[in-house]
Amino acid sequence: MKRKWFKEKAAFVLIFILIVAGCGSGNSKETVTGGGNSAASKQRIELSMLSSWSTDTERGRALQAVVEKFNQENEDNITVKLDINADWPSLQQKVKTMIAAGQTPDLFNYNFNPNDLSRQESGELLDFNPYMDEEWKSRFTEQDLQAMTVDGQLTSIPFEKAGILFYYNKELFTQAGIESFPATWDEFFQACEQLKAAGITPISLMTSDDAWHTTNLFTYLAASITGTSVFEPGQSLDTPEVTQAAQYLKQLFEYTTPDALGGNYSVSSNNFLIGNTAMIIDGPWLIGSISEEMIPSIGIAASPTFGDGKVQPGFTVTDAHTPWSAAKQTSQEKEEAVVQFLKFMTSEESSKTFTIDGRILLSMRLELNEDEVSEAGPILGQYIKTNSEAPESIVNIVRILKPAATSKLPSLLEGLILDKFTPEEFAKELEAANQ
């Protein structure tokens, strides 16, 4: 009797587990798509592509359009399956985990950092060198291909390299009696003073997260003082030039909003987007957030210089390279499918889609005619023009620091602004954190 009763309970638990397992696997896929090492079907190849570009953004819609077009053109043999994880840090964590577990995604993008080559050194990434024929090679600059080559292997295909430029509100500039965007830093400080006197906050800055808008300004200042080689790997950050840039940065915090201290990207960019500030230094993705009414008031400009020839006028700070990488494949057909897709992604036609519709500034060569530039809209047109005329560039400091220094940067910046550190101490602390 007791045994029967117990069997009934056990059977109930077992049935429950089976139902649960059944429900769960109802949503499962037939194959593990992340498995770069799994054997591919000979008839049809499915490539799993991981990205954070959701279709809520212009770049996400452009990526989806390109993927759909490729799938249509190759409907008999290749399907690229786009899987979106909108949270960029989570996605990067996931990709690193997948690589560590030997399940590298077929295709993924990431921020290239010469101080963090863990992905490249994993031995799990596909080397594109054997496939880099003259035609494909001609799509990129030699400098970008070189930058992506680690230990002789080209494991990442250059893709996005956004120039970061100065956005300014022409209406607010006119109210302050400023006729054009300053060409030198002396004029820039003068303009800030004029804006402040007119009751307008000159510039949007922030210190939280990666202090993006502030580090753009800091990189522009440091490069203007020293040249675009100022943050090259191996160079010390504890130099008189970096100290001087920190000094200027501290001065410029007198011209920003009170919420810059502790503020994040959204706070800082929204201050500009609602007309609270007259300037911001950001990438082309900001354009999509500018309201229709504000568009005619927005101007795009390159950075001021000190006029001493250390940098060429019109130089730019850029975001990190955001290249695409792929898993090493055991199947030759799948490997070729990956290359075929990346060639399609980096083609002239796809590049136009990414630039005009997705507002992404690319590493690939791209010639846009007048019509295409105007199709991009007044701000993006100006942006593309200013960016393409840049004679030299430097990557934002936050993209080349070691992870420890990146995480310490917000507190260092806040310490500098709050007089906890002198500019000399700031440079020393930054260098120490970067070791």
Partner: protein, 267 residues
């Protein structure tokens, strides 16, 4: 004294309710309005934010996924924690060592398990399935659940076990018919903890799912706060939708706790 108590209650209410009310108000504003006047009432109540949340992504589907994961992980976690806790009511060799082993997981940061969990879930063929995520949540929360349920069972007088055996009940029957009914308060506390953890978790949900079919509500909220655009009011609307079940569950189960606590064990 009465006024002082009332004052403290009001202060507590203010501290806990103001951020929630602000979130609800902000979810009815435009992005510009939110940053221009963060504490004002909306000029126009933007119900469109809620429509945008529900129309731009299959939120009801993500909602179901989150509920499924929360329920399954809670059931699994509580069943296992209750069985483990019951075993610890008996005396056996190295009992304290086993207890330490079972509960030691509380002190290990879950991030340390990212790669092993990913590998094991993948190996089991449960990657990108709801059950895979639920299993991991149950596993991650198990040490604390065991501690909660065991601590409660420790308060049950051992005479009840002895009485059950004298009446001829087996170990299993004693568990189902004697111990389980009086352990509900401990199990309910563990359930609330497990369910809220499972509902709010983001890291493993991102790591162990990939397709839209298995996306949870917490992962979906990130769609409104990406690196390249952040529409806070719409994200807040999604958060308000996501918070509702947590409040409902807590309200319902907290009454059970009180009911359970007042029930007598030894009669």
């Amino acid at each position: 004294m009465k006024w002082l108590r009332f004052g403290f209650k009001m202060l507590f209410l203010l501290v806990t309710m103001v951020p929630f009310l602000w979130l609800i108000l902000a979810s009815f504003k435009t992005n510009q309005e939110l940053f221009a006047a963060p504490f004002s009432l909306p000029k126009r109540w933007m119900i469109e934010n809620y429509e945008a949340v529900l129309s731009s992504h299959p939120i009801p589907h993500y909602f179901f996924n989150s509920i499924f994961i929360a329920i399954v992980s809670t059931l699994l976690g509580v069943i296992v924690a209750t069985l483990v806790s019951y075993a610890f009511m008996y005396t056996f060799k190295f009992k304290s060592g086993w207890l330490l082993l079972v509960t030691f997981g509380i002190f290990i940061p879950t991030n340390a398990f990212i790669v092993p969990y990913y590998f094991i879930v993948n190996w089991l063929g449960l990657y990108d399935t709801l059950l895979g995520v639920a299993l991991v949540y149950a596993g991650v929360s198990l040490p604390l659940c065991v501690l909660i349920v065991k601590t409660y069972m420790d308060s049950i007088q051992h005479e009840i076990l002895e009485a059950s055996f004298i009446d001829g009940a087996s170990v299993h029957r004693t568990f189902f018919q004697v111990i389980l009914p009086v352990s509900y308060p401990g199990m309910t506390t563990a359930s609330i903890f497990l369910m809220i953890t499972a509902w709010n978790e983001l890291l493993f949900a991102s790591l162990l799912t990939q397709s839209e079919a298995t996306r949870t509500l917490q992962v979906a909220i990130r769609f409104f706060l990406t690196t390249f655009s952040a529409n806070y009011p719409v994200a807040f609307a999604a958060m308000v939708i996501a918070i509702i079940p947590t409040i409902v569950i807590y309200s319902l189960l907290s009454e059970k706790i009180i009911g359970g606590l007042t029930a007598g064990a030894v009669k």
